[in-house]
Amino acid sequence: MASKPSRTPLIIAIVVIVAIVAAALGYYIYTSKPAATPSPSPTPTKVKIEKVVIGVVQPLTGPYAIFGREAVDAARLVVDIINNELGGVRSLGGAKLDIVVEDAGTSPESARLAAEKLISQYHVPIIYGAYISRFTMAMGTVTEQNKVILVTDALVDDLANQGWMYFFRVAPRASAHGVSAVDFVMDMAKKYNVTIRTAVIINEDSVFGTTVSNGAHLQLVKYGVEVSSHITYPYDITDMSPIIDQIKRLNPDIIIAVPYFSDGVLFAKTAKAAGLNPKFIAGAGACGFTDPDSIKAAGDAVLYYTNTYSYNPAKPTEWNSKLVSEFMRRYGKMPTEAAGEVFYSFFTIYEALEKAGQMFPDDPLNPDHLRQAFLSLDLNESNSIAAQLYPTGRIKFAPNGENLYAGTAVLQVQLINGTLTPVVVWPQPQEGVQPVFPRPGS
């Protein structure tokens, strides 16, 4: 304390710091050249591949955990089926699939860390995730840099426009949901001879909600429907009545809604209370309308609501029925689209691995080989399980990684044997079901 400090320690300290920094940089520059691309070749050539580890990054905590949890459940189921019933990847000598799950947390930062961890610790060749688009965006920069295949269940359109080489998306992109919702409504209107002149669009204001609703908006304009208002709100809204009141004053023919979850239930309940009864209310990417838990929470407020779905749980194919019943047996509930996306995405990965084993027996897990295998896939219901699970029944990738045959199904909540059940009504209604259009009593 007090008196003037001598300069010696200052000089020593600076010298030490400079020396350490210099040494660190020197060492780094010396070592980084060869290790600049720490090539993930965990499986040397011609060595029998025991198992292929697929990384799964999903939000398991925070507000987005709902679907992340289900996706992980579904992934475990699919992997078990592939390993036990299909005998693993046959072209890789029956190599088993394995998954490593990482929590994407609540921010892109943690999602990115999760991806880094999977790559650095487990040297995974493929990562599946991460449902939230901006999480996937953060992961994409990592997977690209490390040449790891990223198969995503995030739907925002932008992801496919990043010029990424190792990116694939089987699931229908966000704007396709909006388009499908409008197509469905207009299709029905034509079929049942209902005139539709005006519409109101409401959406939660995330990137996903906005992209979907913009898709719907453009499509409505294409059909010549007047959009009287396009309302956005935050997903954690606790009071819907001001919005419903506004809509009621506008009195539109139809409402296209893109809610997230609890806001969807809140919308339906408030709309019912307000006596808001347009000719039709169609959801797009709206889990809050047709998800079993939402139906449980909303009760008959969501009766006759529809929703576009990335997955068609009622698709009458052998494998689809099998997976749905397996899922129900194991987890006691219907798979929602989070699980559905995993179903077809994982079987697509499986097909790609088979293909890679056939095309590049020497080094099938090389990222560029894997990429070529993915791009060479052309799956339909007769040649693959994956396509049997997919709404449109076809999977083929464009060079930007987007599925050329992407499309959605439409579910409607109907009263079946006294229980509210989501049933598929579009493109083809499921067995014994007819779409209800327009809303009764409107």
Partner: protein, 291 residues
């Protein structure tokens, strides 16, 4: 929009805002009471509402009864929970630095949120068909039963609270402690016991708020964050020591939020918080503080 149409729109928003505000009043009342008596900065208030809403939901679905009824069953549980939280967490940090109190209550909020997440999962939980779920159309206006009910119950409970605080022995003791802790001891008031009961009663108010909420909406683990800051804004606007002031302040906030919705629901909270800024700048003790 025509002038008449606009007028209807604005009036409808005012009606919605008043109801919302009265609901906010009941949400904030527990916080105001606890903050007034104990001077504790509770950042977990909204999360307490959230956890209590889960209790209400559990009982509602298990017994298949209306949330308002199950709320009555939840209240004693919350009372006991309040005693425990006060004894275990709040008492040790009373009179400590505000930041320490914030740290501990934020920690409590984390714990509650993640217990809810782990146990109830992230899906929204709600009672599908509450008794009061319709709307009444009066001329061009819509009155929502559930909101009307929540406003009415809120007014009733706040009235009872006001009566409790002014007429009962314990209520008087609580107000005495709010005003002057050290003098209160000279009246033979056991201040620590008053603290315990205050927190417990605060939790009962939280329970009422959560029951009313479940009549209107659903609960999910992060519901609480929506309520915490709003409650603080209401308390700031009202100042301490007046239940009526709190009700009026909360209504002002409700109307502001509802009007903000006319601009865009995405920015309505910004409107509320801007009001908060101006209150703090120009009326730092609140509009209704007696002091």
């Amino acid at each position: 929009m025509s002038v008449g149409g606009l007028l209807v729109a604005v009036l409808q928003q005012v009606i919605d805002g008043v109801f919302l505000g009265l609901f906010y009043a009941i949400v904030a009342s527990g916080l105001a009471l606890i903050f007034g008596v104990m001077d504790i900065i509770n950042f977990a208030h909204g999360d307490l509402v959230m956890i209590s809403a889960y209790f209400v939901w559990l009982i509602s679905t298990y017994l298949n009864i209306d949330p308002l009824l199950s709320m009555l069953l939840v209240l004693p549980v919350l009372f006991v929970l309040g005693l425990a939280i006060q004894k275990g967490l709040i008492n040790p940090v009373l009179g400590k630095e505000p930041l320490i109190q914030i740290a501990v209550t934020v920690g409590l909020g984390f714990v509650l949120q993640n217990i809810a997440l782990g146990y109830f999962k992230a899906e929204p939980r709600g009672y599908p068909n509450p008794v009061f779920s319709e709307g009444l159309s009066i001329g061009p206006f819509v009155i929502y039963e559930s909101k009307l009910l929540s406003a009415a119950v809120s007014v009733l409970v706040l009235f009872l609270l006001d009566q409790f605080l002014s007429r009962t022995r314990l209520g008087l003791a609580m107000r005495a402690v709010t005003d002057d802790r050290s003098s209160a001891m000279l009246m033979g008031i056991n201040v620590e016991r008053v603290y315990l009961l205050t927190f417990a009663i605060g939790m009962v108010l939280v329970g009422v708020a959560s029951g009313l909420w479940m009549e209107m909406g659903q609960v999910w683990p992060y519901l609480g964050t929506s309520f915490s800051l709003v409650s603080w804004v209401a308390v700031a606007l009202a100042g301490l020591g007046s239940i009526r002031g709190l009700a009026v302040s909360a209504v002002i906030i409700g109307i502001a939020e509802s009007m903000g919705s006319l601009i865009s629901p995405s920015v309505k909270m910004a409107v509320v918080y801007l009001i908060f800024f101006f209150i703090l700048w120009f009326k730092p003790r609140g509009f209704f503080a007696k002091r």
